[in-house]
Symmetry: C2
DNA sequence: CTGAAAGCGCTAACAG
DNA sequence: CTGTTAGCGCTTTCAG
C-alpha cells in the first residue's frame, strides 16, 4: 500500500498560502508601462531588450504573479511543454520506476508528463499512426520497451515530434538501454563460477524478435558465457515466465519437476525470480542448496529475501531519456546519443555451489 | 522487469498505416460548404444543426481527418480535457495501480492524464497553492492518499477545478475509499478466530493525523475486534514499518525478538508483510507455526507466497475517481458521491492457530 | 531596442 | 438553423 513511502518528516508546511490568481500579459504590460510584445520578449530571455526594461518587466510580472497561459502559448508557438511516455503497462515494478524517473526530470524542467499505455502491438501502432494528433498534445514522446518497426521509426522521424526510446536502440533517436547480452553473461558467469553447468532460464517470448528482443539478448548472453567453457544452453531448459511473478512460479515448477532439473535458474526479472523461489519452496527444495536462483533488476524485495540479481538502474533510464528529450526540445542539437546504462551483479544468498 | 506483462498475442498489426495530417476547421468548412461555426456546432453535437448539414459536415471532417486542435479549443473554452493525478510517489505497488486504473478511464473517455508527484506535505501544499496555475493545465485533479487540510479543501472548492479524492473523504468532493476500520477488524477477527490474543501490528506514523489517517483507522479496527472479546491492543506491539518492504522487515524483527513476541502480526500492507515473512524466516521462525502474518492489498506476490491478506481493489479506486471527475466535467451534476470500495479477507497459508 | 498589428484555430454570442 | 464577428492570451513579423 505504500502511501507514505517517501514521507520524510518535513519542515512544517507553510500554513497553506492562499491560492493566488494568475494575470495576463496585458496586465503586466500595463503595470510595467511597456507593450505586450516587450513583456513577452523580456520574460522569455530573448535578446534585444534593454536591461533596465527587462528588470522593470520582471518585477511587474512577479508582483502580479504572472505566468504565461500555457494554452495561449501553445496555440501561438505550437509547443506544449508536455512530454508523453508510452508504456505497455504502468502497474509493474519496472515501468512504474521508469515513469518515476521521467517524472522527476519533467517536473524539474517545467514539462508536464502525460502517461499513455499501449498494452499490445496493435495499440502501439495506433499510437504511431496518430502521431499527428499526439503532436498537438505533446512536444515529445518516450517509448519504453516498445518495439517500433523501421517503417514506423521512419515515419516518426519525419515529424516535428521529439522522440527518445528506452530499450530499443535506433539510429534516428536518442536512446537508453542496458547491454542485455552482458546482463545474461554476468548472471551465467556467476553461476558457472560456482560450478553450475546446467542452467535453466525463465524468460519470455519476444513479441517482434526482428526489431528488438530483450529476452533473446539476455539468453544470448547466457549462451555466450556457456560457450566459453565449451558448454551449451539446452533449449529445453528455457521456458516462458511472461515477466510476471506467477509466470515465474509456473516456469520454475516445470523446470524443477523435470527428471533432470537444472542446478540453477536464471530468471530474466526479479519478479519471475520471486515466483521461482516460491516454487522451489513449495516443492520442498532448498535454495541455494538444491537450486540456485538469479534474477535481474534489484527489486526492493530482492535485498530482503537475499536474491542474487543483476541490478539495473531503472529510474535512471527514465530520467536520462527525459533529459535527452528536454535538451533536444530546448534546441541543443546533440547527436542522437545512445546511453548505455550500467548493470552489475549483486551476489546475495540465493546462489551457491551445486550439490555434489 | 515485466516489460511484456500484458503482451497478449495480438492480431497482426495493420501494416503501420501512414501518419495522416490533421486539418483545420476552416478546411472542413470549405469542404462542406458551410461556415466554421456550423462545423464547430455540428461536430460537437450541439443542437440547432440540421440533420443533413451535420451529416455533410461529418463526412467532410472524416475525409479530411479533422480533429479540433486541442490548444485552440483550450484557449477558447478554458477546458483542457486533461486530468492530473497527484500521488506521493508513483513507483510503488499501490500508487502505480491507482494510476493504472485512472489512466484506463481517461484514455477511454478522451482525457489526457498528467502525473504529478508530491512526496511530502510541503510539496502537497504547493500543489494546492499553485492551483490557479494547474487550472490552466488541467480540468480536474485526483488527489491520492494526500491529506488536504480543511483550509486547502475550502480553497480548492472555490475554484473551477474539478476535484476527486482517493483515501480522504471530504464533504466537498467526490471520493473513493475503503472502510479502513473494517479492514483492520477483518484481519484482527480472523486472527482472533484462530485463537490469537496477542497481535502485533506493523503500521506507520500518520503524517497529519487530524485530517486523514489510514494506519490509525486500521489500527482502530484491530482495537475494536479485540475489544469485543474483552481484549486490548498493546501499544508496545504497534511498530512503524513505513509502508515499505524493508520497514516491514525491521518492524517484524523488532516485534519477534521481544521477550514476549506476539503470536500473530498484522501488517498494514502486503509489502510490509513480505518484509515480515522474510524476517521470520531469517530468525528461523516457522510461519504460521510460530507466527501468523496477515497483510492488506492482495499484491501479485501474495497469492504466490500464500500470504493471507485483506484484498483491496486498488486499480478500481483510480478508475472510479477518474470516472467521477469525467462525469462532473461533462456537466452531470451528480451528488458529491462517496464510493466505499469493498475489501475482503483472503485466507491463505500464512495464518494458523497459535502454538499451545 | 520597442510598439503595432496580424495571426495561431477554435468557440460563443449575436444577428438574421 | 446558419453565418458574422469578436475574442481567448500569447508570439512574431515588421516598422520605426
Amino acid at each position: 500500500m505504500n502511501y507514505r513511502d517517501a514521507v520524510t518528516p518535513t519542515t512544517k508546511a507553510p500554513a497553506s498560502s492562499p491560492i493566488v490568481e494568475r494575470s495576463t500579459i496585458e496586465q503586466v504590460a500595463t503595470a510595467a508601462g511597456v507593450s505586450v510584445a516587450t513583456v513577452s520578449r523580456a520574460l522569455r530571455g530573448l535578446p534585444n531588450v534593454a536591461a533596465s526594461t527587462r528588470t522593470k518587466v520582471e518585477r511587474a510580472a512577479r508582483e502580479l504573479n504572472y505566468r504565461a497561459n500555457p494554452a495561449a502559448a501553445r496555440l501561438a508557438t505550437g509547443r506544449s511543454h508536455t512530454i508523453a511516455i508510452v508504456v505497455p503497462l504502468i502497474n509493474s515494478w519496472y515501468f512504474s520506476n521508469v515513469v518515476a524517473g521521467a517524472e522527476a526530470v519533467c517536473t524539474e524542467e517545467g514539462y508536464d508528463l502525460l502517461v499513455l499505455t499501449a498494452p499490445n502491438a496493435e495499440l502501439r501502432h495506433e499510437v504511431v499512426a496518430t502521431a499527428a494528433e499526439l503532436e498537438r498534445h505533446t512536444d515529445g514522446m518516450i517509448f519504453v520497451e516498445v518495439a517500433l518497426p523501421p517503417r514506423e521509426l521512419e515515419q516518426l522521424g519525419r515529424r516535428r515530434l521529439a522522440v527518445a526510446t528506452i530499450g530499443q536502440q535506433t539510429d534516428t533517436f536518442p536512446s537508453v538501454h542496458v547491454d542485455n547480452v552482458r546482463v545474461g553473461s554476468l548472471a551465467a558467469q556467476h553461476l558457472l563460477d560456482l560450478g553450475h553447468r546446467r542452467i535453466g532460464v525463465i524468460g519470455a517470448q519476444a513479441e517482434e524478435p526482428s526489431f528488438f528482443d530483450v529476452p533473446g539478448q539476455r539468453i544470448a548472453g547466457v549462451g555466450l558465457a556457456l560457450g566459453q567453457i565449451g558448454g551449451d544452453l539446452e533449449p529445453a531448459l528455457v521456458v516462458d515466465g511472461q515477466f510476471t511473478i506467477e509466470g515465474g512460479y509456473e516456469a520454475a515448477s516445470r523446470l524443477l519437476s523435470r527428471p533432470d532439473p537444472p542446478s540453477a535458474i536464471f530468471a530474466l526479472s526479479d519478479e519471475m525470480a520471486f515466483g521461482a523461489l516460491a516454487a522451489a519452496r513449495d516443492m520442498g527444495l532448498n535454495v541455494p542448496g538444491d537450486v540456485s536462483v538469479v534474477g535481474v533488476d534489484d527489486h526492493e524485495l530482492s535485498s530482503v529475501v537475499g536474491l542474487t540479481t543483476v541490478r539495473q538502474h531503472v529510474a535512471e533510464h527514465g530520467a536520462v531519456a527525459a533529459r535527452a528529450l528536454v535538451r533536444r526540445l530546448r534546441g541543443q542539437r546533440t547527436a542522437p546519443g545512445h546511453h548505455v546504462s550500467t548493470a552489475e551483479l549483486v551476489v546475495r544468498s540465493t546462489t551457491g555451489p551445486p550439490k555434489l
